[in-house]
């Protein structure tokens, strides 16, 4: 791997996925977004690790390879995360995550008077400003900064 020091801080992985460069305050939200709380595979979570520029979080999960649309969920709160695909201890692919145009069922609307907080239904958000990470509720039009978004 390109940065042996930081990768040594957590256990090496034979096959699986390493999600790197997660902001420290977003790490556990990423865990939730990927539904890793219920994972039975070997899972290593590291936080406040020394990165090249600042402290970061990292997630390593063995023998799991996520589809790109699932990985893109990470972009909601960690747009600069890098996903490394590991096979036989080698990084065979590095993937970036991109915010989908519509985010369904992942982010909670912070407007208590929104219909989506009062009916058994999925939330839905549209991107307003991709670079600033601003999304708007499809139903009530309230805008949320993705950094502050509550993950369902």
């Amino acid at each position: 791997m390109s940065n042996p020091k930081s990768s040594l801080a957590v256990a090496a992985l034979k096959n699986g996925t390493v999600i790197d460069h997660i902001p420290t305050n977003a790490l556990f939200k990423v865990v939730k977004l990927l539904n890793l709380e219920n994972a039975t595979n070997q899972l290593t979570i590291g936080n406040n690790l020394e990165g090249s520029k600042c402290r970061k979080g990292i997630i390593k999960i063995a023998d799991v390879f996520f589809p790109q649309d699932i990985l893109n969920r990470i972009a909601i709160i960690a747009p600069n995360a890098v996903v490394n695909i590991i096979r036989e201890y080698e990084v065979v692919e590095k993937l970036k995550v991109t915010l989908p145009d519509t985010i369904i069922g992942l982010v909670k609307c912070d407007n208590p008077k929104c219909i989506c907080n009062n009916e058994p239904m999925s939330t839905r958000f549209h991107i307003v400003d991709r670079s600033a990470g601003i999304i708007r509720c499809h139903y009530c039009n309230h805008t949320v900064s993705t950094i502050n978004a509550t993950i369902i």
Partner: protein, 317 residues
């Protein structure tokens, strides 16, 4: 989802807005066209609003439709815990179009997603109220003879007033100049000022409702300053008089100036303005009838201006 549903004024193109206004004009000139003979209109008011409900129901009745519905959520199954989805699906079995008002924001948008029947939003919380915007536009068009290049002054509660927000969005097609007159507590939210900037709309913010602002206006759109918006009651008492309109203030105003207000008013327009020919708020409410006739027909895909529709109904007048 029915493509003719009307949830937000922002869903309409300039051409669609102008076409609805043309239809409203036609209904004003031709009252009593029974275009909706045999149709059933539901008015589902999960939150009471007598004015809006009466206006929609009168519009439906004038068009020859029958009306069913409720005027208060307490009388419906939603008070027994039924979801909005279930209520909408159930009512969809009976009617051709649903007019709904709800206290929750986004309720109308969600309703369109669970039924194939067209849904007309008659207000969802503090979010959208497109029929009000159509009648405001119709009132402006009727009194000014045009929608383009007008100076429109909005006064009072610009923070929570959804009618002014929707009007700004609709007027983006018509090169308006806005004056926003409000105190700090109730000033125009940043998002709408950004909307103006993005769409090249000129606006000036004012804290004082001055003679200069009044005398440069084609339209003055007054709104109600509500006591419950203030944390400081002393501040409310000070502000409510600052943004009141009196007849004496209109002496040097433009001849074409008209005063609009979504009603009900409390004390922001004094009664001595009522007899001034520039007072237009009661006619504005009446225009709501024609606007809603056009909106209901539009939702049902019936274009009163189309030749085949005209030949079918207008000859029987």
């Amino acid at each position: 989802m029915n493509p003719h549903s009307l949830v937000s004024i922002a869903d309409l193109t300039k051409e669609q807005i102008l076409h609805i206004l043309d239809q409203a004009r036609y209904f004003e000139d031709h009252p009593g066209l029974k275009v909706l003979d045999g149709k059933v209109v539901a008015t589902l008011f999960f939150e009471p609003s007598t004015r809006t409900r009466l206006s929609f129901e009168t519009a439906a009745n004038r068009l020859g439709a029958r009306v069913i519905g409720f005027s208060d959520a307490n009388t419906t199954s939603s008070s027994k815990g039924e979801t909005l989805k279930d209520t909408i699906i159930m009512v969809s079995n009976y009617v051709d179009v649903i007019v709904m008002r709800h206290y929750l924001e986004g309720a109308a948008r969600y309703a369109t997603e669970v039924t194939e029947i067209p849904v007309i939003n008659a207000g969802d919380g503090s979010n959208q109220h497109p029929s009000q915007t159509i009648l405001d536009l119709y009132s402006i068009l009727k009194t000014q003879g045009k929608l383009d290049n007008l100076t429109i002054t909005m006064v009072g509660d610009l923070k929570y007033g959804r009618t002014v927000h929707s009007l700004i969005m609709a007027l983006k097609y018509f090169n308006p100049t806005f004056n926003f007159v409000a105190c700090d507590e109730l000033k125009m939210p940043v998002e709408y000022k950004e909307f103006c900037v993005m769409n090249g709309i000129k606006y000036v913010e004012h804290k004082d409702f001055t003679q200069e602002v009044i005398n440069s206006s084609d339209i003055i759109y007054m709104t109600r300053v509500q006591k419950e918006r203030f944390t400081d009651i002393v501040e409310y008492e000070r502000v409510k008089d600052l943004y009141s309109l009196h007849n004496s203030m209109l002496v040097n105003s433009r001849d074409n100036l008209r005063i609009l207000h979504p009603l009900p008013r409390v004390n922001e327009i004094s009664y001595d303005v009522d007899s001034n020919p520039k007072a237009y708020y009661f006619q504005q409410a009446k225009n709501g009838l024609y606007a809603r006739q056009a909106i209901i027909c539009n939702a049902l895909g019936i274009d009163i201006l189309a030749p085949d529709v005209q030949s079918k109904y207008v000859s029987h007048e």
